[in-house]
């Protein structure tokens, strides 16, 4: 329709496409797939907003869990997975505690993240965490500032983790390699860096 009217503004055209979202862009299998992963009644959302109202991320970011629940009900796979807000959930489970329909929105987000990962849509900073774990066994490895604080507090310079026992690192790497997580992370990061 938008095309037929011939708006010359490409941004406007992109926006107007949206009105057919439930036909052209909807993938009913997506709702089902999320259900199978999240094991919650994700299709029962009635959009009351209790989740966003409960969300500690919402007042501080553009993350709106209710919108993701809506996209999920409507099967809007691409729109859900390509929205970087998907990764702003802290998984605190406040929304899950309070949802009057007894849905677990947190698990829906986690399921969508898993599907996004399968499709290689993951923000680079998350993948760098994977690389960090692979290197050091820590998502956030110890650093010199921390070490100084620890020493001042009378603690050992490094915590009793892989930092102190690097002989356990191969085991961790084996687990990561088994699922090819590092491999995939490297690939996506390289691609992202190539595109600037």
């Amino acid at each position: 329709m938008a095309k037929a009217k011939g708006y010359s503004d490409p941004k406007m055209e992109e926006k107007l496409k949206d009105r057919y979202y439930y036909r052209e862009y909807s993938n009913p299998d997506f709702t089902k797939k999320v259900h199978d992963l999240a094991r919650t009644v994700n299709h029962m959302c009635f959009q009351c907003g209790t989740c966003t109202g409960s969300c500690p991320s919402a007042p501080r970011s553009s993350y709106r869990i209710r919108l993701f629940m809506r996209r999920n009900v409507m099967g809007l796979e691409d729109e859900s997975l390509t929205d970087p807000d998907l990764w702003l959930c802290t998984t605190c489970y406040c929304c899950t505690d309070r949802c009057p329909r007894d849905i677990a929105p947190t698990d829906v987000i986690m399921a969508m993240r898993n599907i996004a990962y399968q499709r290689g849509i993951v923000p680079v900073n998350f993948l760098k965490t994977v690389q960090a774990i692979y290197q050091s066994g820590h998502g956030v490895p110890n650093n010199d500032v921390n070490r100084a604080v620890r020493v001042r507090l009378g603690l050992a310079k490094d915590p009793p983790t892989t930092h102190s026992y690097p002989e356990f690192l191969p085991g961790i790497r084996q687990i990561i390699d088994h699922w090819h997580v590092k491999e995939k992370a490297d690939k996506i990061v390289a691609e992202a860096e190539k595109h600037g």
């Binding site: 009351c48 907003g49 209790t50 966003t52 109202g53 409960s54 969300c55 709106r64 009057p100 007894d102």
Partner: protein, 684 residues
């Protein structure tokens, strides 16, 4: 009751004195049945079943031409029994019995095979399986129909009196209607005054008339009606009997005060409570008044509010210290009896209307909204008292923490309703949207500059003039925020509240600071509902509300004949719907009383005397006290059935060690024949 005692059965040999000739009629029910199963195949099969001499199908057997097919076939083919394979007997058994009777057979020679509810509806995706199941159902029904015997329904007289349990607006309306129809009506109320929840309300939506102003005339009518015997502070203790003859034991709870009539009866001339109230000021015990939601004190001797009916003081013996000061204050009237005990009393009624009402859901269970944690979070019934001229603040809305007038008030709708978490209620409480709109209007009217914020998911303004009322309140300046409240926190210094929600229309999370929060809490069945309904043998639906006989076509009846329901105890409803249902229930309850007799299905047990050993073991098993042991001619004992009490449950028949009990219409040979027909597969 003597005429309904059974003659002891002599022999059952005559049941099969004639070779059975059965006609089978298969209904298409439009496409409900024919759209799934192969009707032609079923007819062909039916013709091969033993004893079947006639089989045909028709689009709607319940229609007039369909019924004519039954009557015609009975006459032409000289049938001894009929089988209709169609819907559930709940719907059309009476129809086909009538058709069987018109054909010249006893109506109990009819048997129904349910191939729709238990066939094509549940197996709609398995036509072949449904067809086979229908064949089985027909074969089984034919087996029973071949052994059916002639039965005659018994009729019993109906007591010309009714009982209404609960004297809220529903119970009062039902009692007034019954009384005006010339029926003696006992109106039973567990509290000291009639009026119920409606008497606690300030105004009513959408007309905004004062609740007490429209209610008190009815209360006075009830108090004065000649045909109504008002039994306040009474509870139902036990129920025996059946439609037409309910024997109800009532407990008159000790209220410690003699009414004028009671005093007269005790020979205290001119004495008894006249409601002067001299006793109240001297009473040293102070308790919260539940009528004011605990926000106003009352004494141990009290009335709830000035307009109580009957105007009679009540002593709360749980808190009374029996100091006797009130007795002195009462003086010559001698109305107070501190040693009064509960009394039991039996009344006999023909029909009963249950109007048991509702309680507020304990919304403190939803901890995120802070009810009972934060001073300024109240529920809507508390707000109702806080804005009522006769309430604890004489109608001045103040917030509980500091007595200040609130300027920003948040209303939380669906507080515990539409909640599938298991903590709240899954249903819509139905009147909260409208009363919250009304509350918004009332505070705008009372407090200049106040802003009501209404947090809602959907505004359900479904009644007459309700949507117009919504329009009006929005026009008056109420702010509507489409989003369910996620949680509420209190500022510990100011006692103001922070309401967290999402404005889902703007995709924007909100942190709104307000002076007061009103939770439109869900409603739930009144505390005593479960006990009372069990006494009357009434079922409840999964959420605890009383179960109506049919949600659309019999909304006032229950599955227990002679017991009817009215008002919120059957499901949340507003005042107009409650009154309408009460009038419906009263009308339905008056029908058997006016007819004067009811027909009972002849499904009662019979004793075969020559087999009965007189052991009496069945007597104690009977849940309805319908059996007794009597002396037999020529010595010994024999069991006897009071047919009007027997509900045909079959407990005795299944148990009797000598096989001496014959369950009419469900006799052992009939049931065995059905099982055989099923297991042995019949002739294929």
């Amino acid at each position: 009751m003597a005429d309904t005692k059974s003659k002891v059965k002599e022999t059952k040999a005559k049941v099969t004195d004639q070779k059975p000739r059965i006609g089978v009629f298969v209904c298409h029910c439009g496409t409900n049945i024919a759209g799934v199963v192969d009707v032609k195949a079923i007819i062909e099969y039916a013709k091969t079943v033993p004893n079947v001499v006639h089989a045909e199908d028709y689009q709607y057997v319940c229609s007039t031409p369909g019924q004519k097919k039954i009557t015609d076939a009975i006459k032409e083919k000289n049938l001894t029994g009929t089988v209709v394979a169609a819907c559930s007997p709940r719907l059309h058994e009476p129809t086909f019995r009538r058709a069987t009777k018109e054909g010249g057979l006893n109506p109990f020679r009819f048997e129904m095979a349910n191939i729709r509810e238990q066939g094509t509806w549940v197996h709609m995706h398995d036509p072949a399986g449904a067809t086979e199941k229908a064949k089985d159902a027909i074969r089984i029904a034919v087996a029973k129909a071949s052994l059916l015997e002639d039965l005659t329904p018994k009729s019993v007289a109906v007591e010309h009196a009714a009982m209404v349990v609960g004297a809220g607006i529903a119970g009062m309306q039902a009692a007034l209607d019954l009384a005006n129809a010339g029926i003696k009506t006992y109106l039973v109320e567990k509290l000291p005054s009639i009026g119920g929840r409606m008497s606690q309300l300030d105004k009513t939506f959408p007309t905004l008339d004062c609740s007490q102003c429209i209610l008190t005339p009815k209360m006075v009518d009830v108090g004065r009606a000649e045909n109504i015997e008002l039994l306040t502070y009474h509870e139902v203790d036990a129920v025996e009997g059946f439609i037409g003859n309910f024997d109800v034991t009532l407990r008159k709870k000790a209220n410690g005060v003699l009414s004028m009539a009671e005093a007269e009866a005790k020979g205290i001339s001119g004495g008894g409570c006249n409601g002067c109230g001299d006793c109240e000021p001297v009473c040293p015990v102070i308790k919260p008044n539940p009528f004011e939601m605990g926000m106003k004190p009352r004494k141990a001797i009290y009335i709830y509010h000035p307009q109580v009916v009957p105007l009679l003081y009540t002593i709360d013996f749980d808190s009374c210290i029996k100091c006797g000061l009130c007795v002195t204050a009462c003086g010559e009237k001698k109305a107070i009896d501190l040693e009064m005990k509960d009394e039991l009393r039996k009344v006999k009624v023909g029909t009963v209307v249950l109007a048991l009402g509702y309680d507020m859901f304990p919304v403190e269970n939803k901890r995120e909204w802070g009810y009972k944690q934060f001073d300024n979070v109240v529920n809507s019934l508390e707000l109702e008292r806080l804005i009522c001229a006769s309430g604890p603040t004489a109608g001045h809305l103040i917030r509980p923490s500091d007595g200040q007038t609130p300027k920003r008030v948040a209303f939380v709708l669906c507080a515990g309703s539409r909640d599938n978490t298991g903590i709240g209620k899954p249903y819509c409480s139905r009147f909260c949207c409208m009363y919250s709109l009304k509350h918004a209007h009332q505070i705008i009217e009372k407090i200049p500059g106040v802003i009501p914020y209404i947090f809602y998911m959907d505004i359900r303004s479904f009644g007459k003039m309700y949507e117009e009322f919504y329009y009006r309140i929005q026009d008056e300046g109420a702010k509507f925020i489409r989003g369910r409240v996620a949680n509420i926190l209190e500022d510990p210094v100011t006692k103001n509240l922070h309401v967290y929600a999402e404005d889902t229309m703007l995709n924007r999370p909100i942190d709104l600071e307000v002076d007061m929060v009103v939770l439109a809490a869900a409603v739930q069945p009144a505390a005593d509902t479960d006990r009372t309904r069990k006494l009357f043998g009434v079922s409840c639906s999964q959420d605890g509300w009383l179960l109506e006989a049919h949600p659309k076509l019999n909304p006032c009846g229950t599955t227990t004949a002679g017991v009817f329901v009215a008002g919120v105890c059957q499901g949340p409803k507003d005042i107009p719907d409650t009154v309408a249902q009460a009038e419906g229930a009263a009308s339905a309850a008056s029908i058997p009383i006016h007819i004067g007799k009811v027909e009972l299905e002849p499904y009662f047990a019979q004793c075969i005397e020559e087999k009965c050993a007189g052991c009496g073991m069945c007597v104690n098993l009977c849940p309805y006290s319908a059996l007794s042991l009597v002396d037999k001619e020529g010595g010994g004992k024999v069991m006897q059935v009071t047919e009007a009490k027997c509900k045909g449950c079959g407990t005795c028949g299944g148990f009797c060690p000598g096989g001496a009990i014959w369950m009419q219409h469900f006799a052992t040979p009939q049931v065995i024949a059905q099982i055989d027909a099923f297991l042995l597969g019949g002739a294929k």
